[in-house]
């Protein structure tokens, strides 16, 4: 089975701290994603990456950065955490968008999530 592992299930940080959320997948997927989930707002895309060292902004990139130095690992970084970044963070991965119909690219495998609380 494809596994997407997020390093921390629960984190508590203080305002202004630098926070790293790590995600590792073991199925050689090209695409990796970071989503944020808040009550009533569904899943919102922060950043995604379709290759090593490549990154693209999602809908809400402000206050976040990402790093993808290896294919299997995608890190989300909060340079200076703020209380409005308290949320559930979900990492996902998928195969690349094919030249034709991208049947595999839309099949995302998610991690269990990292619940971050910023005090």
């Amino acid at each position: 089975d494809v596994k997407v592992t997020q390093s921390s299930r629960y984190l508590v940080k203080r305002t202004g701290e630098k926070v790293f959320l790590e995600c590792v997948q073991d199925m050689d997927h090209e695409n990796m994603f970071w989503y944020r989930q808040d009550p009533g707002l569904g899943l919102r895309l922060i950043y995604f990456s379709y290759d090593v060292k490549m990154k693209e902004k999602g809908d809400i990139p402000e206050g976040y950065s990402v790093s993808r130095e290896k294919k299997e690992r995608f890190s989300l970084i909060l340079e200076s955490a703020s209380t409005n970044q308290t949320s559930m963070y979900l990492c996902a991965s998928s195969f690349a968008l094919a030249g034709g119909r991208g049947s595999g690219a839309n099949v995302l495998t998610f991690g269990a999530g990292s619940r971050l609380t910023v005090l």
């Binding site: 979900l90 119909r101 839309n106």
Partner: protein, 110 residues
């Protein structure tokens, strides 16, 4: 950026068929539509995907009309364990970003 649109919540009883419709007016021509199920404190789980007409697997059916501007997830004979949030996912024309809807919270009662 156009987003997918789903009903916020639905209620059902055990044994009934549930249909959840998602609107995706600006879907990319070559893209598949996928649906996910999410239980509390877990990441979403892939259920089914389709391109057009009807697809069925052991969990659900997916109906997609010819214009592909919407899709309907059909859950036959739901049980209490089907209580969850259901998301549709599609890609907008010209974008690499995958846009989730806000999800439909399904509550199945005895």
């Amino acid at each position: 950026l156009a987003k997918t649109t789903q009903p916020i919540s639905m209620d059902s009883y055990e044994g009934q068929e549930v249909n959840i419709t998602c609107s995706h007016n600006n879907i990319a021509t070559n893209d598949y539509i996928t649906w996910y199920q999410q239980f509390p404190s877990q990441g979403p789980r892939f259920i089914i995907q389709g391109y057009k007409t009807k697809v069925t697997n052991e969990v659900a059916s997916l109906f997609i009309p010819a214009d592909r501007k919407s899709s309907t997830l059909s859950l036959p004979r739901v049980s209490l364990s089907d209580t969850a949030v259901y998301y549709c996912l599609a890609r907008n024309t010209g974008f690499q970003k995958l846009v989730f809807g806000t999800g439909t919270r399904l509550l199945v009662s005895p």
